[in-house]
Amino acid sequence: MNQTRSLEARRASWILASPLLIFFAALLVLPIYLGLRTSLSRDRFSNPEVELSGIENYVALLGDPDFWESIRFTLTFAIIATSLQLVLGFLLALIFDRNVPGKKYLFSAVLIPIMIAPSLMAVMYRLLLNENIGIVPAFFGLFNIEVTLFSPNALFPLLILLDCIQFVPFTFLLFYASLQNVPDELYEAASIDGSSYAETVRRIVIPLLKPAIVVVILLRFLEGIRNFDVIYILTGGGPGTMTQTVGIYIYKTAFSQGDFGLAAAASVVLVLLLAPFTPWIIKRLSTSEQQ
């Protein structure tokens, strides 16, 4: 009996998992193979002949200052944006975690940016910041302040701010959800012991939220690395290559310059740069699974 059941279970599990296995084979394994092969080939729009070229693309890539510049920009952007979103999301969650009138509606209102496609957000930013019709330049104009929002000096902080508008709601949500697991009695006990609110937060709440903090940093950083839509729509990576993320570098190399081999090599190097962290990330994200 037991034997037939386990045989049935084994057969059923293969049948049930087969769509996923086909999916992984067709859309994960095959693309990885194609990506690696393309990165080792001379594959350009200008020349229909695709031929293997060894490590030629990798040599060209590692010698391309634009590539390293895009890596530097992407990392700087991801680190600064992640840190700000971590702090702001946490503060907002703390402020929210009390008896606020109209809480239900405010909660929905704060979450709305999560529900908007980044590319559509970017189109709205363009309307908002447009120097002829935008509300923001008009607002500064009321005080006779002339702002050139897309000037090279203002551009980086502006892009960071726009990233925060969209993703502080996300970090807020994760922190607020974990704050609900901190029992009210803890705050009461701490205050009876004469601990101030700030001290309670620092000594009790933050240590309790450590798993959530790690997850927020990981998720926002990994998402930050793949930043594409908003920056591409707002600046196209410019002026020059000033705001070129790795994503924009790969996209332009493949589809503007038509050099698929070089773009594929850049994609492989990007994954290799992230690969050393993978086991650690799997461990961090899977241990919180058991809690």
């Binding site: 599990s13 907002l92 709305i112 999560i114 496609a117 709205m124 509300i135 205050s191 839509d229």
Partner: protein, 274 residues
Amino acid sequence: MKSRKKSWLAFIIILITALFLNLPLLGAIFNALRSDNAIASGAFVWEFDAGFSHFQNAMGAAGYDFPSFFVNSILISLGTVTLVTLVALPAAYAVARLGFGGPWILRIAVGLRVIPAIFFLVPFYIMFSSINLIDTIWVLILVNGFTNTTLALLIFSNALAELPLEIEEAAAVDGATVFQRLRLIVIPLLGPAMVAVAVLTFLFTWADYLFAVILTASDATPVTVGAANFVTSYGVRWGDISAAVVLSILPPLVFALFAQRFLVKGLSAGAVKG
């Protein structure tokens, strides 16, 4: 100390934050309701004299392609939700209940988050152009199906882990096959997880820009690419652009607000546990 009294100070801080975070959307709605003259004469001209003409223009009256982008986005998002559920739910059952693949399937699913979507840009383009799927809604359903399956797998396996085993065991003793147990017992209990997967997949698919921009040309263009191109091709028709963007935002927004409980649970569970 955490007070039980109503905190009006917190109310004011949060209200201002919420208004600031929604400034882009409020600005777009504001412009969509004003005539192009009012828009051009100043950002603070409060004349809502356009009625719904911009919305009518966006929905076809002015001859833009926007309505077909809109239909494409809806078909792609609904198709992806269906595909993701059909692939991930049975697989999650095989993994969580029948021990398929040990811990490896879920580890791969978590590990895949490390690979940026951009890695697949060139391979997907090469693959799908060689089989002539470019510029069809099918290609975007497949690609978004793939990118959303890992999260769905994690949400479904977490949900399965929380279901009691006893009912299924009793059914098995009574001679129910694995498929009968899945169909008659497990799927009805997975309702909340299915809503969470549906709302998240719908949101993320609707939001896709990167794959849509390389894998579509005109026939299968979704609203994200359409709206971004709109700004460059009809640069001065601010009212129509604003209306088109507001309309593009509505379907996922309405879905997510109605299913907010599931969205919050799915995002925090999927994120924290995934």
